[in-house]
Amino acid sequence: MTVAIIMPARNEAAAIGQVLSRIPRQIDGMPVVPIVVDDGSSDQTARIARQGGARVVRHLTNLGVGAATRTGFQAAQTLGAEIVVTMDSDGQHEPAEIERLVRCLVEGKFDVVIGSRLLTPRGMPITRFAANLVLNAVTFMVYRKIVSDSQSGFKAFSRKAVESLELRSCGYEICSEIVGEIYRKKLRYKSLSIKAVYTDYSKSKGQHFLNGINLLVELFIRLMRRV
């Protein structure tokens, strides 16, 4: 049984090596395989990721975090992974928490475990906290599902969940779309409290406020298409 860690990355040469070095090589006897999806980086992200022991899939051009995540899912399925974890490459997520997510998924027999930053938001910038609450509300309006952290990129999926997801998003709206799929496909899920790491670097790499507006527009269009 293999655990694949999908890490969409764009110009993360400064952080990816360190993040990869802290990913466990195995969890409860299961081999862990990091898969970095290089989304059109112009720096040495792919080379450093390979040196760090990751399998690397490279997009010729930047498609967006949603498209990179979907590529990662396909790659994980090709590898035959039974468990798939998505996480950020900028160091915002603590690699040591991967074990907790995987154990929760396996022991609780869940299809999806969402690492929630909002259950214990200590250290989270107040603007980010407020923006995430707004996006939770918008996700609920569009997909009729409320979760504590709809925008979390730190999630664990069972193979069944990965095979059942029908995703179309190319950008950050994929987080909301996954919540919608959990609801649509009646997947068993749990939110698990995680600690997010907010360094100057990871804060600079997160979603810009203006991109949040873009995301709202994308979700609004999806809402209109459903009506």
Binding site: V37, R50, G53, A54, R55, V56, V57, R58, H59, L60, T61, L63, A67, R70, T71, Q74, A75, T78, L79, R168, C170, I221
Partner: protein
């Protein structure tokens, strides 16, 4: 007028480079000619509205129809862009996964 000139010249360059068909090029010339005519002689709009008002339609009808048409154009553009985005994404993903990444480290 300057904007129209720029737009028509761009269209002409595309036409010469065979990136645009003759019919499309002529369409843009006619469209921009109308826009320039209306800009230079706004009384044309008054004439149009007065003549359509004789049939019972007013200014509201004119703008309503224009709005509906513009919304339709925006909708069509959105659908096309979405389709292109999905196709492009699929092509790049397949290219990325086709490389021998499984065995490469």
């Amino acid at each position: 007028m300057l904007l129209a000139l720029v737009a028509v010249s761009k269209s002409y360059v595309d036409f010469r480079a065979r990136l645009e068909s003759l019919s499309m090029f002529l369409f843009w010339i006619v469209t921009w000619a109308i826009i320039v005519a209306v800009a230079l002689f706004p009384w044309i709009v008054d004439l149009l509205i007065r003549s359509s008002a004789r049939g019972g339609a007013g200014l509201g009808t004119f703008f309503g129809m224009a709005l509906v048409f513009l919304y339709f154009v925006v909708y069509r553009i959105y659908v096309k862009i979405e389709r292109i985005e999905q196709n492009l994404t699929k092509a790049i993903q397949e290219l990325a996964l086709r490389e021998d990444w499984l065995n490469r480290r």
